[in-house]
Symmetry: C2
Subunit: 422 residues, 2 copies
Amino acid sequence: LRSAEILAVGSELLTPFRTDTNSLLITSRLNDLGVEVIAKSVVADHAATLQAALRLALSRADIVVTSGGLGPTDDDLTRDAIAAVAGREQVEQPSVVAAIEARFASRGWKMPENNRRQAMVPVGADTLDNPNGTAPGLWLRHDGRVIVALPGPPREMTPMWDTHVAPRLAALTGAGMLRRRLIKIAGRGESHVDEIAAPIYRRWTTAPVPIATTILASPGQVELHLSAYGEDRAALDQVLDQAVSELTTALGSAVYSTDGRDLEQVVADRLLALGATVAAAESCTGGLLMGRLTSVPGSSRWLTGGIVAYDNSVKVNDLDVADSTLSEHGAVSEPVAVAMARGVRRRMRATFGIGITGIAGPDGGTDAKPVGTVVICVCGPNDDEVVVKTVRLPGERAMVRRLSVQTALDMLRRACGSPDYN
Amino acid sequence: LRSAEILAVGSELLTPFRTDTNSLLITSRLNDLGVEVIAKSVVADHAATLQAALRLALSRADIVVTSGGLGPTDDDLTRDAIAAVAGREQVEQPSVVAAIEARFASRGWKMPENNRRQAMVPVGADTLDNPNGTAPGLWLRHDGRVIVALPGPPREMTPMWDTHVAPRLAALTGAGMLRRRLIKIAGRGESHVDEIAAPIYRRWTTAPVPIATTILASPGQVELHLSAYGEDRAALDQVLDQAVSELTTALGSAVYSTDGRDLEQVVADRLLALGATVAAAESCTGGLLMGRLTSVPGSSRWLTGGIVAYDNSVKVNDLDVADSTLSEHGAVSEPVAVAMARGVRRRMRATFGIGITGIAGPDGGTDAKPVGTVVICVCGPNDDEVVVKTVRLPGERAMVRRLSVQTALDMLRRACGSPDYN
């Protein structure tokens, strides 16, 4: 059993407002077992459409997984469609009726007659317990295929997959497993990373234990996903660890994590290890940097506070930026960014101070300082240790702000990770 | 032509990391023409799988739209699959070759021989110009159906839909059109809104011009989407405007927009109209409120600045919260939130001041003040005008912070929209 197809059932998933995301989790779990997803579909709550989709899936995939359509109403057609396509009668299963009745009784309610439909089971199918809802799942072996039917809500579906489906599938797919690694990189573009990484990872595709590498870019960040399939966990891990080590050596300090941690968590851990704190003065990012730093639980231990200095008077009064610095160099300038970083560091009594000033747009750009011009300063642990950088960031307002935050975080990471403080 | 099926082509859309989102835009555009999407699929770059998906789609949908798989490489199989399923030869179209050559020439490059594949066109199909890429789209009438093939990148696909596909489809679907309205609501839960709205919108489903209503909830926000289909634009608009008016009357001040504006934009517009400004002091939200306010272009006209007061010493030194207030009531208390709002309003010379202090978790909760306890104060235009609210917000850290920001924004909206200032 090496191929799978996923069907999401529900007319609400065919509107412009929603999309199926269950299939991402299911895909990830199937990949872990070495199973490849060859197609996925979203189908309306419509008997013929659903049956046709099931038939097509069974004609080409070893495993067919459905999510949704197991509820008690007339719109819930997955059970009937599976029974029809597999040519099985449905029989009411008393143990399921009892479980649903018990679920209602525990809240002091009587089971509505509707819910009895959820206890209908195609002959030969096993039901899968659902601790978080009334709809049991179904497991059916048919014609050498496996059909798995799960409810749509992720909080019902996910634990059912892990408890019931994963072990049953593992027994059928054999001892094979997929092991993964993730390398996270900041401050380098996708093509730059690929230029360095491709000559390395290309060799692995034909190695005795082949490694598949996927490069994924999001604003200000590049991820390298490595995976290897086999039966010997230790051997896979050894090959992958060696691969990670080769790539991180080649990519150098641009790699900020190989253990899944995100950039703000890496910064948090370094600050904690140093016993250091940080404060930020933000102009164009308007609080987003601090918002991201404080998304880390326990951030009060290493973030003292910060100032959003939108108005120049705030830069002067609350950050001690000199009027003359502003008038000589303009609000978006290296001297102002440095003064902001120093000012907030002193005012908020922190080890490190960050200053960000820039033009996020859509207005405010000039020929000399177009939209996207952002100046970022990290200073500390004493005022003389200053790193300041002027960047030209691409994109619209939201993108410029997001990239500014990412750049500032990465500068802070490098500042508090440098040998002097580590 | 009233039903459609959408196929997204590409193996990368079958990994755990990516998902098809083109279909959301295509669905929205099809709905505008009164066309319903009955199924959608993602298929691998695999000839047989793609052909089977096309055949199934053509067996039940009037319109089949594909995105992706039109590139120049061997992996790009959509053209071949359409030709095979429709039983058409492919012929190289010299005008397309010329267009691709010109595109490369404009950058001083020669067209790679590979790209010639993109000029192969199934007999009877029209090509659709792609101003943002080399892959032209295809339009093919076959057996009473319409097949539309578009490239995958949204920046290529979207303008091609609007320029070429929409007018061609409109000519076939007739004069029918879908008109929509959107009502945005803050400060009420989904079930509360539905309790008020359902008795009203249920009547509309059987009205002479029926209105379809969808209720969509996200954290701290509920949206009512109304749509009506017909041929007479003025009549549809009149019915929908009347419906919006009925619902907004019933829902009262919880409705913050009926014109698509989001909450921060509504707040921005009200502040601008008043000639007022705002400053914020944030503890548990750590800058997220200001980050959201400053996402509005031009926010420097009405946001002076703010302080992230994570450390109690910042609350005392930079917001003038009295030591005694902190020690008597604790950092998460109404007196502290009020003092923070007043302090930041004075310090930052703003019309309105906002103070937020709370326990976002995962640590820091007590029996009296569990995780999710958040106190929010809006004060202004003079220090005596104070609204303060203690809320218990559900969810994890990120959710508590997000809901805190939403609640504060809504309190600010009400404060600056009250008759006194309007």
